[in-house]
């Protein structure tokens, strides 16, 4: 149990995320089949396995370099909506991580907040549009609120908020992304991107929990 994450810990997070997304590939794809185009699981698994390989091949010097590598790798391997959005999240996070050898809860909160802002700027989604923003927004708020608590606890709170946000997408009618084409028929289904956002935050919390 640590109070801040260094490059090794962040790498462990992303390795874990890659494993989780590989395991959850079929479920994410099924969620995307219902209201999208059946590729979210495959896209995310492909992107994060590329991230894990990239980090293993050339370990970055600090969190900022790591986030930049992650962002660039996601952008060039995921494609679809998720690629630029998650890529932007990590690139924006890299900006906030610059100069920091490790990231504590407030620093991670700042990174995540900047990442979310980047996603919103790119994708123009508002809360309640049934997107990953509905998982990430509550997670950022929770992490902010818990930034004074020990890191594992703060990240657990963020993951729990993401999970609640993810579940809350079920009744929503989508207004952004592919699901919006379905109009009212999109209600009753959980958003795949909100789900992958939760999985990423859960992997982060689990990593911090050791």
């Amino acid at each position: 149990m640590t109070d801040s994450l260094d490059v090794a810990a962040l790498t462990a997070w992303l390795d874990r995320a890659a494993a989780v997304l590989e395991r959850e590939k079929a479920r994410l794809t099924e969620l995307d089949a219902a209201i999208g185009d059946s590729d979210h699981g495959v896209n995310m698994a492909r992107g994060f396995s590329a991230v894990a390989a990239k980090l293993a091949g050339a370990p970055p010097a600090d969190p900022a370099a790591l986030f930049k590598t992650v962002g660039m790798t996601l952008i060039s391997t995921v494609g679809g909506a998720a690629g630029p959005l998650y890529g932007t999240l990590f690139l924006q996070a890299a900006g906030k991580a610059t100069g920091k050898p490790t990231l504590d809860a407030p620093a991670l909160a700042e990174c995540l907040k900047a990442g979310l802002a980047g996603i919103v700027q790119r994708g123009k989604a508002e809360p309640g549009d049934k997107t990953m923003v509905d998982a990430l927004g509550p997670a950022v708020a929770a992490l902010d609120a818990a930034a004074g608590a020990p890191l594992p606890q703060a990240l657990a709170a963020a993951a729990a908020a993401a999970e609640a946000g993810m579940a809350a997408t079920i009744p929503l009618v989508a207004r952004k992304g592919r699901a919006s084409y379905l109009g009212e028929r999109s209600a009753g289904h959980q958003d795949p991107g909100a789900t992958s956002s939760f999985l990423l935050l859960k992997a982060l919390a689990d990593t911090a929990a050791g």
């Binding site: 794809t29 099924e30 089949a33 209201i35 999208g36 185009d37 059946s38 590729d39 699981g41 495959v42 896209n43 492909r46 952008i75 060039s76 391997t77 995921v78 494609g79 679809g80 909506a81 998720a82 690629g83 630029p84 959005l85 790119r122 994708g123 207004r175 952004k176 992304g177 592919r178 919006s180 084409y181 379905l182 109009g183 028929r185």
Partner: protein, 333 residues
């Protein structure tokens, strides 16, 4: 899942390798990042036309690369937008000094990836303009949503703008023409069956034997509504009505009527559909002066069809008729 493939993760690369082997005189296929580029690119002094999108819509876009149409196409994974590095590499490969036009179908992923690519290209000193195609009347347009999808009008835009670029038109004129094509093109699609994304391994949705889906897009997504199966003539009405009702068609207009197959529908059925669509167009006073019948923008092996009407102006007709020499569309050359 019954497909003539080897493995889901290999489909796109192997199909591209097949295209490269089949059409060495017309195109080259680059890997890492992947794009299809016309054999003689870059063409000096010509606007470079670049499009792309998820795979699974063949022959679009790779089959439209060649003289008189696209300079390059970027294939993504099945139903997944390609990435900015593909688009940037393609843009560089076709830059003939007259600028680059990105033709982008309106999907969040495509739009964002092409946007990023345009930013990267601009940073590298390339002149890039982008036109987003959003012709699918099945989707209600709204400021608050992702907007209409880009579907079959894309094929027409690529051909017409390809003709204009080949004729030496400058970037601003080609981009303007592309926006005019988009503003005057409307489409609507339907499905008899769903398709199966190779990685997913099972159909995106299921339809009973007596059901069809109206207002589908080209990504195996469910449509706006599920209705009882109807005869082809009634289907033609169901697709033509919303297209014609939507702006900007009026009696006396000259139009191109495009009946497109979704991949699993045989040509005999497309002609049955065309017959009625043509009749309906004429009943509304539209003059069908050009047409296209075939499977040009598909959704894997989905059975179904879409109908597109494009109101033509003189430029559009001239550049539609201009020679084209690509794997999938070829005339006058």
């Amino acid at each position: 899942m019954k497909k003539l493939i080897n493995a889901p993760e290999a489909v796109v690369a192997e199909a591209l390798a097949g295209m490269a082997a089949a059409h060495p005189g017309l195109i080259r296929v680059q890997t890492d990042p992947a794009f299809v580029v016309r054999a003689d690119a870059p063409v000096r002094g010509k606007v470079g036309l670049v499009s792309g999108g998820g795979s699974g819509h063949e022959p679009m876009h790779g089959g439209f690369v060649g003289r008189g149409m696209l300079d390059a196409a970027c294939p993504g994974a099945v139903f997944t937008s390609p990435t900015p590095d593909q688009m940037l590499a393609a843009a560089k490969a076709v830059d003939g000094g007259a600028g680059i036009l990105f033709i982008v179908k309106n999907y969040t992923g495509d739009v964002m990836n092409f946007e990023m690519a345009a930013e990267l290209a601009a940073a590298e000193g390339l002149t890039v303009d982008s036109v987003v195609i959003d012709d699918d009347v099945a989707v209600k347009d709204s400021l608050y949503t992702a907007g209409r999808r880009g579907v079959a009008t894309t094929v027409l835009a690529e051909k017409i703008c390809g003709g204009a670029a080949e004729a030496g038109q400058p970037l601003a004129a080609v981009a303007d023409l592309c926006r005019r094509v988009n503003a005057n093109g409307r489409s609507m699609g339907m499905a008899l069956t769903a398709c199966t994304v190779p990685h997913a391994g099972k159909p995106s949705f299921t339809l009973a034997d007596d059901e069809m889906e109206i207002g589908i897009g080209i990504h195996g997504e469910p449509g706006r509504r599920r209705v009882p199966l109807e005869p082809a003539d009634r289907v033609a009405e169901m697709l033509m009505e919303p297209v014609i009702e939507d702006l900007p068609f009026g009696a006396g207009d000259e139009v191109l009527l495009f009946v497109n197959g979704m991949g699993g529908t045989p040509l005999i059925e497309l002609y049955v559909l065309y017959r009625k669509a043509h009749e309906i167009a004429e009943r509304h006073g539209l003059k069908v002066v050009r047409n296209l019948v075939g499977s040009y923008i598909t959704s894997l092996e989905m059975a179904g069809a879409s109908i597109t009407l494009l109101r033509l102006d003189a430029d559009m007709i001239r550049y539609w008729d201009a020679p084209v020499l690509t794997p999938a569309l070829r005339w006058g050359a």
